[in-house]
């Protein structure tokens, strides 16, 4: 009786070891480009040209970053990106919370029809609105301003409103009724009851908006045309095409662009995984 058990646990250990080996190998495929990039960002160009990417730098060489920040204007791009992304995120989250509250918890005529309009706009692909939005920004004389970069996304996102509405609807009505009886205004109910009870979905919305704003490329590419308003993605793309194989600078610039996201990812990793699963609409 005991012999087969031992045998099968032995087989199982081997199977589990193989599983972990496979998973580690796959993880390497995902991580290796980042590792090589960090290595290269700390190497002088001569070293990048002469040794393979998998050799770590001999010492921490900061000149690439110094060049990017000072001569390459990346300090400005970083500041622009931070400014635009924070404005976009704050607006999108706050206005989405407000809208979702009305759709989830207030009774007003035409509510459900209006919500359908919001849902229909989910079918409008991003790529399709680029040209008309450009034309509108041009007419409004907003081209080449910070406003143009975040305005189309700052007033709330239908998708986020949809997610939040689902969440708000699950908050027990009694809690809200009790607050109304106590004479709380709708604004107070939203701020003091709904928002504190909805942290997961609000953090999710914040992450979605932030990552979207930080990574956005096509739209800022179209509405900005001077270095003073460029965001990181534009600076990086220009850098890469102008700096013809000066990989030390463009790879250091990639690190500058990705580093803030890496920090956020490290801090919120558990939440991000949960968030993505939460965002699935079926």
């Amino acid at each position: 009786m005991s012999a087969p058990t031992v045998l099968s646990t032995g087989g199982r250990t081997i199977r589990i070891t193989v599983l972990y080996l496979i998973l580690t190998a796959i993880a390497l495929v995902f991580m290796v480009p980042y590792i090589f990039t960090v290595f290269a960002a700390f190497k002088p160009i001569s070293q990048i040209f002469t040794e393979p990417a998998w050799i770590p730098p001999k010492s921490l060489f900061f000149a690439n970053f110094r060049y990017d920040f000072v001569s390459g204007e990346f300090l400005r791009y970083l500041a622009n990106t931070a400014l635009v992304t924070i404005a976009l995120t704050l607006g999108q989250v706050v206005f989405s919370v407000m809208g979702a509250y009305a759709f989830a918890r207030l009774n007003f005529p035409g509510r459900d029809k209006l919500f359908w309009v919001y849902l229909m706009t989910l079918m409008v692909p991003n790529a399709v609105t680029i040209i008309p939005l450009y034309a509108m920004m041009r007419v409004a004389h907003l081209l080449n301003t910070y406003w143009a970069i975040f305005l189309p996304y700052v007033l709330g996102a239908p998708y986020t409103i949809f997610l939040m509405r689902q969440f708000f609807r699950n908050i027990p009505q009694e809690v809200i009724d009790a607050a109304r009886v106590d004479g709380c205004s709708e604004w107070r109910i939203l701020a003091r009851i709904i928002v504190p009870l909805s942290k997961p979905v609000i953090v999710t919305a914040t992450l979605i908006a932030f990552v979207f704003g930080w990574n956005n490329f096509l739209w800022p590419l179209i509405v900005t045309n001077s270095q003073s308003h460029y965001v990181l993605t534009i600076g990086l793309a220009n850098f890469q095409s102008n700096m013809n194989s000066q990989w030390n600078y463009s790879l250091a610039a990639s690190v500058i662009t990705l580093f803030p996201l890496a920090v956020i990812f490290a801090v919120f990793q558990r939440h991000i995984i949960r968030s993505i699963s939460l965002t699935q609409i079926r």
Binding site: M31, F108, T121, L122
Partner: protein
């Protein structure tokens, strides 16, 4: 690139979750229109007005404006003139719209099937309660959150024929690597590879969630009936993942049709015009040629294709969902 999300499928019954997904059905739709209705409406107005302005100004009106521009000759410098349907003809005659459409399909075909199979495979590997699965999951998802422009710059370097790690590695085993992004036949596969790398972990998460929602008892029953793991996968897991599959495919296809950032950095449509997808062509015609009418017509074409595909995919899977079960 950020993904545009598929329209939610409101009425589909979600197994294992008690709520009906939107609650629009069977709900008291807002109060009576009248004096109290007006008051209720005015009360709600401050809450909805910012997002309503946003939706109308930045989503509804642009769609209308897009169609209007697609009927104009407009080069931004001189006043626009009416072009009628000419733009829709001219994009096929002079701007390579058909070629770009073909290239876009080719890209989607290289990208989506492989990505979906890999995502499902990764989910199956990670679908256990063993230690460390969380760490692997996080590592696999990391590329999804990374800036596509930055990862494209990185991959451009990795695939550099002379200096890149890929060819350096191949040289170690005695293979002379191809020119990758400068090769008309390799450029698109490389672009597809980069996008698969970026999004496969993200899609894996949905399959993982789908797999974990399948009740254990089904597998136990299958085991008693003598079904092996392969049979269990094809007879239980796969059919029950239908709605996850639909979501992953629809969002994946919609996203792929709009690919831009990666291509802008990696190939700019080249070599030649071998990777000139529709969205990139729209950008070129609009913002390097300044022919907004033609570009808008091409956008309408893209919009139409995306809609058709989403609807088609939706119908296909709707008819195939046979294994509904209730909790």
């Amino acid at each position: 690139m950020t993904r545009v999300v598929s329209p939610p499928t409101e009425t589909r019954r979600r197994p294992l979750k008690r709520r009906n997904s939107s609650g629009l059905v069977g709900e008291t739709s807002g109060g009576h229109v009248g004096q109290s209705g007006l008051r209720a409406f005015l009360g709600a107005l401050p809450f909805i007005s910012p997002s309503l302005v946003g939706v109308v100004l930045f989503l509804v009106i642009p769609v209308i404006v897009l169609f209007v521009i697609s009927f104009l000759n407009w080069n931004l410098l001189s006043p626009a003139t009416v072009a009628g349907f000419m733009n829709y003809l001219n994009i096929f005659r002079f701007d390579g719209a058909a070629h770009s459409l073909g290239v876009t399909f080719y890209y989607v075909l290289l990208n989506i099937p492989l990505q979906t199979v890999l995502a499902l495979g990764l989910a199956l590997l990670l679908n256990s309660k063993r230690r460390g699965m969380g760490i692997f999951r996080v590592l696999y998802v990391a590329p999804y959150l990374s800036t596509p422009v930055a990862t494209a710059v990185i991959w451009y370097w990795v695939f550099d024929p002379k200096l890149g790690a890929v060819n350096a590695l191949l040289a170690h085993v005695g293979i002379t690597g191809p020119q990758w992004l400068s090769s008309p036949s390799w450029a698109m596969p490389v672009v597809a590879f980069v996008n698969i790398w970026q999004y496969v972990g993200y899609n894996m998460l949905f399959f993982l969630a789908g797999l974990q929602a399948i009740p254990r008892t089904l597998y136990e029953a299958a085991e008693i009936d003598g079904a092996g793991p392969v049979r269990q996968f094809f007879r239980i897991s796969l059919p029950l993942l239908n709605s996850t599959m639909l979501f992953v495919l629809v969002t994946g296809v919609i996203g792929s049709f709009q690919v831009f950032d990666t291509l802008y950095v990696l190939t700019q449509g080249g070599p030649g015009n071998s990777t000139e997808v529709l969205n990139l062509r729209v950008y070129q015609v609009a913002f390097t040629d300044f022919r907004l009418g033609e570009a808008a017509a091409m956008s309408v074409l893209l919009f139409g294709v995306i809609l058709l595909f989403s609807i088609g995919q939706f119908m296909f899977f709707r008819n195939r969902i046979t294994y509904e079960y209730s909790a």
